[in-house]
Symmetry: C2
Subunit: 149 residues, 2 copies
């Protein structure tokens, strides 16, 4: 039915029910950034019978296949997001846990320059800004997941 079934096969994974559901979830959920626990809870909430171990296993497989990216926000649980090709960095609100994405060509360029000056090539990088909202009405919108951190 879905092209996701083909997507999975093309990366050498059987199109099983849990895998399809997890991929679907990432494609339709509003909050792009989910922990393994989030994924588990959301699927259970859809009356699916799935184990946490499967969620972890599938997330790792998807990461290795390049479908998802895994991020380690400050201390604690890993967060996954759909890999849609365009690289970006993250900004995490310390108050409400909200995550925003940004991309700054100048920062990227400086990074490469710094590494090159020391005789290295950047293979990957992690840039996280932990911020506080200036506005008094910081939207403590209870996202699908509890505030990170």
């Amino acid at each position: 039915m879905s092209s996701n079934s083909q997507n999975l096969k093309s990366i050498g994974l059987k199109a099983t029910f849990p895998r399809l559901k997890i991929l679907d979830l990432f494609q339709k959920v509003e909050n792009r950034h989910l922990t393994a626990e989030d994924v588990y809870r959301l699927l259970i909430a859809e009356d699916m019978d799935i184990g946490l171990a499967t969620v972890y296993r599938v997330l790792t497989q998807f990461e290795q296949a390049g479908l998802l990216e895994r991020h380690y926000f400050e201390s604690g649980k890993a967060v996954f997001e759909l890999n849609e090709g365009h690289h970006h960095d993250h900004l995490v609100c310390l108050q409400c846990g909200r995550v925003e994405e940004f991309f700054d060509p100048e920062i990227e360029e400086r990074q490469n320059k710094i590494a090159a000056e020391r005789g290295f090539t950047v293979r990957e990088h992690a840039l996280y800004l932990y911020v506080e909202c200036l506005k008094a009405d910081c939207p403590h919108k209870s996202a699908s997941s509890a505030p990170a951190r």
Copy 2:
């Protein structure tokens, strides 16, 4: 004997043997970046009788007192380093695990700007470059601790 004894008292901590030893260790070790496990092993190797719990406790106290900084390199264990006032970011060699430090005012500035544009103030940030050595003779120098990561 040491001024460290005074340092500790001035931040409201008794000058106990374990605390003095841990502080000494960070001041004299060549590899600035140590995990709790590293600290534990190094002290045991010096025939000191210390518990891992104490190491964790003291490291956390030192972090809160501003003597040490805690970093979360990619996934896994936290790494501590002496806080000597001058902020910097890190570059980690994927081959030998070596860690170098750098500071780029332009990147710092861009970060603040990006956050400000979105109505946030940067409280703290994490920037790690995971790099590969260009030179064929990448010095896989076995530092006191096993390669991070």
